[in-house]
């Protein structure tokens, strides 16, 4: 009798099993996939994440002298494919999940990167950082090639080959 009464009293004073969120912060596991953040210091603007992104939350466009990588969280599904494919490790998924906001702008992150223009015709090739990344990998005598757009490069190569073979033009 006493035992059952004790059990009853214990049951009555047991705290609720419901988590007290939002009054207390909610713990999420180590590998939780939350808001992605792009590190503007590392990003080279290559667009690998844009190609992989299933919902099209990431996009790339040129704005004057800049190439802009735009992340719109309203479309993001937090799959983390951008993090997987980024060649320089610039995208990282954080553990943040409380993203509700009254302003749409809070859901946008933009990374602006300076464009490298073709040394001959002046058309944009790629971002300066991406060009530098490719340049590093080339032998020194070929490095100038990355500063020329593909079309001009073809033209120059043709001229060089022509010169070597002894053609008049």
């Amino acid at each position: 009798m006493v035992a059952s009464r004790l059990a009853f009293i214990k049951e009555v004073f047991r705290p609720p099993v419901t988590e007290q969120y939002p009054y207390k912060p909610l713990a999420v596991p180590e590998d939780f996939r939350g808001k992605p953040v792009i590190d503007p210091e590392k990003c080279v603007g290559c667009g690998a994440c844009v190609n992989a992104c299933p919902p099209g939350a990431l996009s790339l466009h040129d704005d004057g002298d800049y190439r802009v990588l735009r992340l719109f969280l309203g479309r993001c599904i937090f799959c983390g494919r951008c993090q997987d494919v980024c060649p320089v490790g610039a995208v990282r998924l954080t553990r943040k999940f409380e993203l509700a906001s009254t302003s749409r702008d809070d859901l946008v992150q933009e990374v602006r990167l300076i464009l490298e223009k073709c040394g001959l015709c002046g058309r944009p090739i790629a971002t300066r950082r991406e060009v530098a990344l490719v340049e590093e990998k080339l032998p020194p005598e070929q490095r100038w090639l990355v500063h020329v757009c593909p079309e001009c490069r073809a033209l120059v190569s043709a001229r060089v080959i022509g010169y070597v073979r002894g053609c008049s033009r």
Partner: protein, 550 residues
């Protein structure tokens, strides 16, 4: 090879073996071919219409039949070069083909000659005629400019015989839905009652077509589709992602590393646990037993935490890519899963045993919502719903995939054919799932998580089938150029099971309708990829009209 063996055993000389578990029959006469196959006792699985005009100016229709005893899927192909495509219907041979063929009619404009109810099923009432969204010349982002007038409602013809009191005055019509018929999803039932008794039931669904097939075929690349596939369902999404990946892997001949197969299976079972617990909760809630609802959902929360721990998300796991999985399960995580499973198993057994002992609850379920074995077989019911009606089918055992190839799966079958049997089948399945996760965690081999592959070869077909918590989930994929998908057709298990609901409702008391509808664990959004069916006449009902009836 296994496929050749089976095909030659049955004397199917015209069958082409595509791989171990898939054979293709190019039939000159589809009716003749399907009648010939009928003697093997196949289960009708799905039908796919393909606009093949960009390839060779024809339309293809692929019927998929499952030989569960032999673990073989047979694709029955018919082709037509006619610009106004017409093929023969096989609905008279396989009644389960009814909705499937009508869907092909709506989406691709392929007519089925001899179909008993050749009416619109998927497209909304005001969609213009002769506009077929899944044809390749229809842009994915185009909206039809002119919507047509909705049709007048046809005179209802009763398909279920009424018992006594057959004057119209004694009948009343009760709309159930379209917002919340059992689950929080849009589906509409119209029940005709006499007194308390349901004498006729009509079902109208397909309100939430989201154009996923078109989106995948036109915009996405192979490795983006798994994330879309996962969003077909809000409960069993991972099983769709897995089925899709398996279909592509089968089409392209990609061999998935064993460890990835085990991880997929563990997650599939975790998904089944959470889905079944969710369903128990919903069923108890509908029966007015909210304590049971709270208690099961409390346990379910532990499973959701497990999913979050293993994948980084509670629900949309997002772990699948074609060729493998994206995250490993390390020792610490495996240990956490073991621990949680122990807790869940003990509490769950105790809870359900107590509930099964409550006579009030049993009385609300026993001999309610009867679906006989014959009807289940005829309409192609799948999953726990079919197993509660005595059909011994389970994709995990019959067409083994992922890590189910390496273990024995116990399949509970009951022949009560009522709601109680459906509860008990799911109870045993839950216990079996817990056992399977433990076995998988123990036997999981070391190794890589992702297969190496180059580009996907084009125009190959593959079928990925998984046992979703609700039954067989089947995805058909035809690969395309440049790592894209030419045709993708997912068929969710509720597609088959929903057709059985009106049968179960007729003759029951009105108060039992919600639990009968819920007893198949319906997943409407899975099925709808949208509008009307009137079981009585097979014609569509404009919703506005239907709602105005009194």
């Amino acid at each position: 090879m296994k496929c050749y063996e089976i095909v030659s055993r049955y004397g199917l000389s015209d069958a082409i073996c595509l791989n171990d578990r898939l054979a293709l029959i190019r039939a000159k006469d589809v009716v003749e071919a399907s009648e010939k196959l009928l003697s093997l006792g196949p289960r009708y699985s799905t039908c796919i219409g393909i606009d093949y005009r960009p390839i060779n100016r024809s339309y293809l229709v692929h019927h998929v039949l499952a030989l569960d005893k032999d673990g073989l899927y047979i694709v029955l192909e018919t082709q037509t070069h006619d610009p106004e495509p017409v093929v023969k219907s096989i609905t008279n041979i396989y009644p389960a083909a009814n909705w499937h063929e009508r869907e092909v009619m709506d989406m691709l404009g392929i007519k089925f000659d001899g179909h008993p109810e050749p009416y619109r099923l998927i497209l909304p009432d005001d969609w213009p005629d002769n506009v077929y969204p899944l044809r390749k010349d229809y842009p994915y982002d185009k909206k039809p400019l002119e919507l047509t007038e909705v049709l007048e409602h046809p005179e209802p013809r009763f398909y279920a015989a009424s018992v006594g009191g057959d004057t119209d005055a004694s009948r009343a019509e009760i709309p159930l839905g379209p917002y919340h018929p059992a689950l929080h999803e849009p589906e509409y039932y119209e029940l005709i009652i006499e007194g308390e008794r349901i004498v006729e039931a009509r079902y109208r669904g397909f309100f939430v077509h989201r154009g996923m097939e078109k989106l995948a075929e036109s915009r996405l690349t192979v490795n983006q589709v798994p994330f879309l596939a996962e969003r077909i369902c809000g409960i069993c999404g991972y099983t769709h992602a897995t089925a899709y990946c398996q279909a592509v892997e089968e089409a392209a001949g990609i061999k998935v590393p064993a460890r990835a197969e085990y991880i997929r299976s563990i997650l599939l079972e975790i998904e089944r646990l959470h889905s079944h617990l969710l369903w128990f909760g919903v069923a108890f809630h509908i029966l007015g037993f909210d304590t049971g609802f709270m208690a099961t959902w409390r346990l379910r929360e532990k499973i959701m935490d497990l999913a979050e721990l293993l994948t980084g998300n509670r629900k949309t796991y997002g772990l699948n890519l074609v060729g493998g999985v994206r995250r490993d399960i390390d020792e610490a995580k495996a240990h956490a899963v073991e621990e949680a499973l122990g807790f869940i198993e003990e509490k769950f057994k105790k809870l359900i045993e107590k509930i099964i002992g409550m006579s009030e609850i049993i009385a609300r379920m026993k001999n309610i919502g009867i679906l006989t074995r014959e009807d289940a077989k005829k309409l192609g019911a799948v999953g726990p719903h079919a197993r509660a009606s005595g059909m011994d089918i389970d994709v995990r055992r019959d067409h083994p995939y992922a890590a189910y190839k390496y273990v024995d799966v116990k399949v509970p079958v009951m022949d009560g054919c009522d709601v109680l049997s459906r509860i008990l089948v799911r109870y045993e399945e839950t216990i079996e799932s817990i056992r399977l996760i433990r076995v998988f965690l123990q036997e999981m081999p070391k190794g890589g998580l992702m297969a190496e592959y180059n580009d996907i070869p084009e125009l190959r077909i593959g079928i990925g089938a998984t046992e979703a918590p609700r039954g067989e989930d089947i995805h058909y994929v035809m690969t395309g150029r440049e790592n894209k998908i030419y045709r993708w057709r997912p068929r969710a298990p509720s597609y088959m099971n929903l057709a059985t609901v009106p049968l179960m409702l007729v003759g029951e008391k009105l108060a039992n309708a919600p639990i009968i509808i819920a007893s198949i664990d319906p997943c409407f959004s899975c099925t709808d990829h949208v509008v009307v069916i009137d079981r009585s006449s097979g014609r569509r009902i404009p919703l506005e009209k239907a709602l105005r009836w009194n």
